[in-house]
Structures are given as structure tokens and as C-alpha cells.
Symmetry: C2
Subunit: 228 residues, 2 copies
């Protein structure tokens, strides 16, 4: 089963068609997951989450009551805790619900401490085995994660660029069939190879790494500079 | 000497009073640095950068001419390169200009591959010795970096929260005199300890680490949820 989760990040960073995406996901039988205020955001769109996770401490009592009345599975976290709400959600999604793929929205923008957590939760050793099954999208970026292995990474939507960010030490990181190829690279720090592009006529580029984990960041420009 | 650098990130993410901040910095004798489109943004504010760095490939010819007419020190990067424009700028700032402190603006928002580079440039082993001298601010976040050592981290402005993110493996990471204390923590992955708060009546919290590098992320909520 696939799922879409909405976190509490600011609406200004959401994909413009998020409501339609979530409605289509629900219609296709996917699980909808609301994290903290994201559960309320879903209800406000007229979509009932199947699962809600969080401490919900930013919700007013009548907002929390609405969530509790509608959502069949609610997991309460405690404010002072070892796992963040989004880590907790990822654990439930993959261990209790045995999800195949999970797409995160509302994960970026606003408070940077929240964005960094949402971007890097998957590095928790308990969650890292699921990294390849997680993606994250906002109005301008799509992020996927890849543990060691060899992959054909497809073009997606209207994203013009991609970058590859080393999230851990990596060995033999290689990029082929792209505008900028990368010869096998060994590195020990958080480094990004960015502003790369798919080759005309190629539907994918080839990514491989012998060890470590990377993020592939698809991105696009929202503003044409000559229109500014 | 201190300096302020403006990168090419979207204006919507800038601190609201950026123009006033840069004008005050210039009046105080600080160096102004424009990176790529950031150099043009400064000129559009009526402020002449002292140094401009980049490949300037998003500038139209008359825009680039303006930069070249006004800016006394221009360093051109090449599009396909090992160092990013912002890494190059950091190297010039600390090695050629021997800066004491450098504050980055326009580093976040928009394309995530750019934001990740700007956030983590300082991990380049050639730049890491300067980490403690760099900060980065947008409309909602202030980020500083700390290599191994013991520090009193002061409250800043109206930032209500702080988080500490491990950017490398860390040993003996400790947080004291804060709402959530952290007993000496050893960790090997990019983990954030977040939504922490300064204690009432305390002007700082105590941070120490025996090895590794961390970011301290100050943040604030821009929207009061009960006004949404």
C-alpha cells in the first residue's frame, strides 16, 4: 500500500495542487496520514486522515476534538521524547502499516529546525532501511532517498535540475548519463553535487553507490529572472 | 573585519529589514559581498558590493555590465567546477580578506539543492576551520556553526526556539542551562535536537562537544496559529 502524509509546514511551500493530489491518492485507495497540524489541514481540505500522529500541542481544543472524532487511528507522542513526531510517523507507517511507498508533503519551509528534521529523519538507523521508499515534495522540489545500490533515476514532472547530496560517508558514488558525470567518488562529509541535468532524449540517469545514503533533489526555478 | 554576503535565494525568504541591515553594515565599515544574482540584488537596493563572486550565468548582459562597472573585486567562477560559488566565496572571504565574521543572507528557500549547499558548505574540510565565524539568517531562522569546544550560546533577537543539529559524527555533545538538557551524546548521523528553548532569566545556554561540528538553529513562528 502507498500513502501520503501531510506535515505541519507552511502552506506557502506546498505544491499548488496538493488538495487534488491528496484527493486522488485517497480515491486510489492510498492511506492518508496527518502529522500534528497536518491532520487538521487535511480535515480543512475535506479529506479525512486514516492515521494521525503527533503531540497536537499547537491545536486548540475544538480542533483536536475534530481530529479525534474523525480519525480512526491516532497515535499520541509525548512532547519530551527521543523520537520526533515525524520519526514516530515513519516508524508506524513502515512497521505497523507495512507501507510500500510514502510521500511527504508540508515538510519544508518555515522553521529550519523542523525542515532539517523532516529532511533527515530517514537517517535514523531504525528508519534507514526504508529510505528508498520515502519521497518528499514541495512547490519547487522533489526529494528521494537511495541507500547503497545501482539505480536508474527517472525524470519526474517539470523538474529541470537535479542534485545528489551525500547524507552519510559514501564510497564509489557514481553518476552517469547526465549533463555532469561523476567518476567514482569517496567522501566523508555532507556534500552536494548540484545543478545537474538530464540528458536530452534520456528518460533517466544512472546512480550507484557501494555504501552510504544519498538524497536526489529534483528542483525547478519558479521565477523566470527576465520577468522579475 | 566583518562582512555581509547576499546570495541568490528568493526575496520572499529574506529578513524583512534586509536593506536596512546591509546599509547599516556598510556604514559600519563592513565588507559587502554579492554572490551571483545577489550582487545585482545589492545594486538594486542602492548598495555597491565590495566583492562579487559567481559565474553570473543568470544575469542578462546589461545586468552583468552594471556589476562589472561598479564592483571593484570580481571573481569569476566556471560553471563546471569542483567548488560551488558559495564555497568559492567563503574561501576568498576568509583566506584573501581574512574576515573575522561573515553573515549570509539569501541562502535559503527556493531550490533545495541550492539551500543544502549553502547550509553545508562549511563542512568542506578546507572551510571547516572557519565554521565558528559564519552565520546565516532568513526571515524565520538564524543559523550558527560550532566546531568542537565549549560555548555559551546567547539568546538572539526574538527567536523563541533553538535546535542543535549534528552535521558530522559527534562525541560528548552536551546541552545545559536550557529547557531540554542533553546528557553527553555520541552519534554518527545527521540528527537534530530541536524545539528547545532558553530558560527564563538565562541569557545563554551552554553547548559543548569533544569532536565534530554542529549547527545551532534559532527559529521563530511567523504565524500565530490562532490567527490562521
Amino acid at each position: 500500500m502507498d500513502a501520503c502524509a501531510l506535515l505541519g509546514g507552511p502552506k506557502e511551500n506546498w505544491p499548488a495542487d496538493l488538495k487534488e493530489r491528496l484527493a486522488a491518492a485517497k480515491a486510489a485507495g492510498q492511506l492518508l496520514v496527518g502529522v500534528d497540524r497536518g491532520a487538521l489541514f487535511m480535515l480543512e481540505m475535506g479529506l479525512a486522515p486514516d492515521l494521525a500522529v503527533g503531540d497536537f500541542d499547537s491545536l486548540k481544543p475544538h480542533e483536536l476534538s475534530w481530529v479525534e472524532d474523525v480519525v480512526p487511528d491516532i497515535r499520541y507522542s509525548v512532547p519530551k521524547k527521543d523520537w520526533t513526531d515525524s520519526e514516530l510517523m515513519l516508524g508506524i507507517a513502515f512497521e505497523d502499516y507495512q507501507l510500500d511507498r510514502l510521500k511527504l508533503y508540508g515538510a519544508t519551509g518555515g522553521r529550519m529546525d523542523h525542515s532539517l528534521i523532516n529532511l533527515f529523519d530517514i537517517l535514523n538507523p531504525n528508519l534507514r532501511p526504508y529510505a528508498n521508499q520515502v519521497s518528499l515534495e514541495d512547490k519547487q522540489n522533489l526529494i528521494i532517498y537511495r541507500n547503497a545500490g545501482s539505480y536508474a533515476i527517472p525524470q519526474e514532472g517539470d523538474y529541470a535540475y537535479f542534485g545528489v547530496t551525500c547524507l552519510t560517508p559514501v564510497r564509489q558514488l557514481t553518476i552517469k548519463d547526465a549533463l555532469y558525470e561523476l567518476a567514482p567518488y569517496d567522501g566523508d562529509y555532507l556534500r552536494s553535487f548540484t545543478s545537474n541535468e538530464f540528458l536530452p532524449g534520456k528518460a533517466d540517469f544512472k546512480l550507484s553507490l557501494a555504501s552510504g545514503s544519498v538524497a536526489v533533489v529534483y528542483s525547478k526555478d519558479l521565477i523566470r529572472f527576465d520577468q522579475v
